[in-house]
C-alpha cells in the first residue's frame, strides 16, 4: 500500500513572519498521478512546491517521500533521484552551452572530475542529444543558452529533467511566461514524457484550462488551505468561480 503512495503530505504549515502561507495541509499522491495545483495568486502554491523540493522547510508537519520522511534524504544526490523541480526560465545557466545545461541533469551521478572534464568534452553526449531530440531542439546543442527564446529555454530545462529522471516532477508555473502555443507545447511534452517514464507530476498553473486539459487531478488552494481536491473531470465551473472569487460572500 505505502509503495503506491509516492508522496504523503501530513499537516504541513508554513508561516512567513506573521503571514500564513500554508496551514495544516494534507494530501496523498499516488505514483504516476498528474496533479495540477491551482488557486489565486498568493494561495501558497509556490510555497508548497518549494517545501516539497526542500528549498524551504515547513514550520510543522511532515512530508513522506516513498515511505521515508523527506528530512531523511540528507544526501542531495539521492534526493535528486526522487524529486526534480522545473520552474520559470531563469533556472538555466545562460552562459553555458545548451548541452551542458542538459548534462547538468547528470551531475548527481557524476563525480567531480567527470563533470569538470565534460565541460571540455561533453560526456554521455548521445543521451543528451536524445533528450534534446525529444524536446525538439536537436540542432541547438552548442548554442549559448541565453540566446534561446523563452519557450526553447523551458524545453532545455525539460531535457535536463529527462536526464535527471526523478520519480516526482515538481513544476512551478512552468508556462507562465510563454505564449499559448508554446505553453500547450510544453505541457503536452511534460505530461507525455511523465506518462512514458511513469513519473509523478505536480504542477502549479495559473490557467484552469490547461489544468483540465493535461492533468488528471486538480488540487485547489486558497489562503493556504485546501479548497478542493478532485479528479479533473469532476471539477465544476461553480467551484472554480468560488476559488477565484476575490472575497467570499458570507
Amino acid at each position: 500500500m505505502s509503495n503506491q503512495n509516492i508522496l504523503e503530505i501530513n499537516q504541513i504549515s508554513k508561516n512567513y513572519e506573521r503571514k500564513i502561507a500554508l496551514s495544516s495541509l494534507s494530501f496523498i499522491v499516488e505514483k504516476g498521478e498528474l496533479i495540477a495545483l491551482i488557486g489565486p495568486s498568493g494561495a501558497g502554491k509556490t510555497t508548497l512546491l518549494n517545501l516539497l523540493a526542500t528549498i524551504l522547510q515547513p514550520d510543522s508537519g511532515e512530508v513522506i517521500v516513498d515511505g521515508k520522511p523527506i528530512t531523511q534524504y540528507a544526501d542531495q544526490k539521492k534526493r535528486a533521484k526522487k524529486i526534480g523541480i522545473i520552474r520559470q526560465q531563469f533556472d538555466l545557466v545562460g552562459q553555458l552551452a545548451v548541452i551542458h545545461n542538459v548534462l547538468a541533469g547528470r551531475l548527481a551521478d557524476w563525480g567531480f572530475f567527470k563533470s569538470l572534464f565534460s565541460l571540455f568534452i561533453p560526456q554521455e553526449k548521445q543521451v543528451a542529444m536524445k533528450a534534446l531530440e525529444r524536446v525538439g531542439l536537436p540542432d541547438k546543442a552548442y548554442e549559448r543558452t541565453s540566446n534561446l527564446s523563452g519557450g526553447e529555454q523551458q524545453r532545455v530545462a525539460l531535457a535536463r529533467l529527462l536526464m535527471q529522471k526523478p520519480e516526482i516532477i515538481l513544476a512551478d508555473e512552468p508556462v507562465a511566461s510563454l505564449d499559448p502555443a508554446r505553453a500547450d507545447d510544453i505541457l503536452d511534452m511534460l505530461t507525455k514524457i511523465a506518462k512514458e517514464e511513469h513519473q509523478t507530476v505536480i504542477a502549479s498553473l495559473h490557467s484552469v484550462e490547461y489544468a483540465r486539459k493535461y492533468f488528471t487531478r486538480l488540487i485547489a488552494l486558497k489562503n493556504g488551505e485546501l479548497f478542493f481536491d478532485l479528479p479533473a473531470e469532476h471539477v465544476t465551473d461553480e467551484q472554480l468561480q468560488d476559488l477565484y472569487q476575490l472575497k467570499e460572500l458570507k
Binding site: I55, D91, H100, S115
Partner: protein, 262 residues
C-alpha cells in the same frame, strides 16, 4: 526606510564634499608645489614632446625596455590571476557547507585579500628588493600580491552577485558545491572576469613601468635615467612606447570582449 537611506546618502555626500574642501586647505600652495626655477624646465620638457629621439640605439633600448616591462607585467598578472582565482573563490564563501562556516570563510579570506591590496605595489617592491636584492622575482611578486588582492576581491564580489535561481536549480539536480562552482558560478562570471583581468593587465603594465624606478629595469628606469641626464627627447620616446603598449593591450582586450559576445 527608503527615505531614511536617501537622507543618509545626502549626509554622506555633504561630508565628502566638506572633506574635499578641507583637503584643499591642507595643501601648501605657496611653496614646493611648483618647481623653484619656474617655468623653464616644464617648457623644455613639453617642447620635447614633439621631437622624440628616434635614433636607432634609443629605439632598440626602448624596445628592450618595453619587452622587460611587458614581461614583468605579464608574469605578475599571471601569478595574480592564479592567486585571485583561488583566494577569490574561497572568499566568496560558495564552497562553505553551512552558514557559520560560510561567514567564517568569507571573513578570513576577504581579510587576506584586504591585506594583499592594502600595500601598494611600489612598497612591496621596496620590501622585496630590500630582502632579495634586484631580481625579477621581486618585481613579479610585488605586482602579483596587490593585483591578486584586487582581482580576488572583485572575483569574490562577482561570484556573490550571480543570480540565485540557476544555482538552486543545479543543487536540486543533485550537484555538489564544487559542481555548482564549475557549472553555475564560474560560467556566469567568466566574461566579466576576463574583461576585468584585461583592464587590470593594462594597469599592471603601467605599474610595471613605474616599478622599474626602484631599479628593476624597464621603461620607467630608462625614463628616470634620461630625465637625470636632461635628455627630454629620449624621455618622450620611452613614454610613447609605454602608450603604445597600453593601447595594444586595450585593443587586445576589446578583441577578446567582442569574441565573447558571440
Amino acid at each position: 526606510m527608503l527615505s531614511f537611506d536617501l537622507h543618509k546618502r545626502k549626509v554622506l555626500t555633504l561630508f565628502l564634499l566638506l572633506l574635499f574642501a578641507w583637503s584643499l586647505f591642507g595643501v601648501n600652495w605657496q611653496e614646493g608645489v611648483m618647481h623653484s626655477s619656474g617655468i623653464g624646465p616644464a617648457a623644455e620638457i613639453f617642447a620635447a614632446m614633439f621631437t622624440p629621439d628616434l635614433s636607432l640605439d634609443i629605439l632598440i633600448l626602448a624596445i628592450e625596455s618595453s619587452w622587460l616591462t611587458l614581461a614583468y607585467a605579464t608574469a605578475g598578472m599571471s601569478l595574480a590571476l592564479i592567486l585571485a582565482l583561488i583566494i577569490g573563490i574561497l572568499a566568496s564563501g560558495v564552497l562553505a557547507s553551512g552558514k557559520r562556516s560560510r561567514t567564517y570563510m568569507k571573513g578570513s579570506f576577504r581579510g587576506v585579500l584586504g591585506f594583499m591590496r592594502a600595500i601598494h605595489e611600489l612598497v612591496w617592491a621596496w620590501l622585496f628588493v630590500a630582502s632579495f636584492g634586484l631580481s625579477p622575482y621581486a618585481a613579479i611578486f610585488a605586482l602579483a600580491i596587490p593585483y591578486g588582492g584586487i582581482l580576488g576581491r572583485i572575483f569574490a564580489d562577482m561570484i556573490n552577485d550571480v543570480p540565485e535561481e540557476p544555482i538552486l536549480a543545479l543543487k536540486a539536480t543533485g550537484a555538489s558545491r564544487l559542481q555548482c562552482l564549475f557549472y553555475g558560478y564560474l560560467p556566469s562570471v567568466k566574461n566579466s572576469m576576463i574583461s576585468y583581468t584585461m583592464y587590470r593587465y593594462e594597469c599592471a603594465v603601467r605599474s610595471s613601468a613605474i616599478m622599474s624606478f626602484v631599479g628593476l629595469g624597464g621603461l620607467g628606469y630608462q625614463i628616470q635615467l634620461s630625465l637625470n641626464d636632461l635628455h627630454y627627447d629620449e624621455v618622450w620616446t620611452f613614454i610613447y612606447f609605454l602608450i603604445i603598449l597600453v593601447i595594444l593591450i586595450d585593443g587586445w582586450s576589446n578583441m577578446l570582449r567582442k569574441r565573447m559576445q558571440l
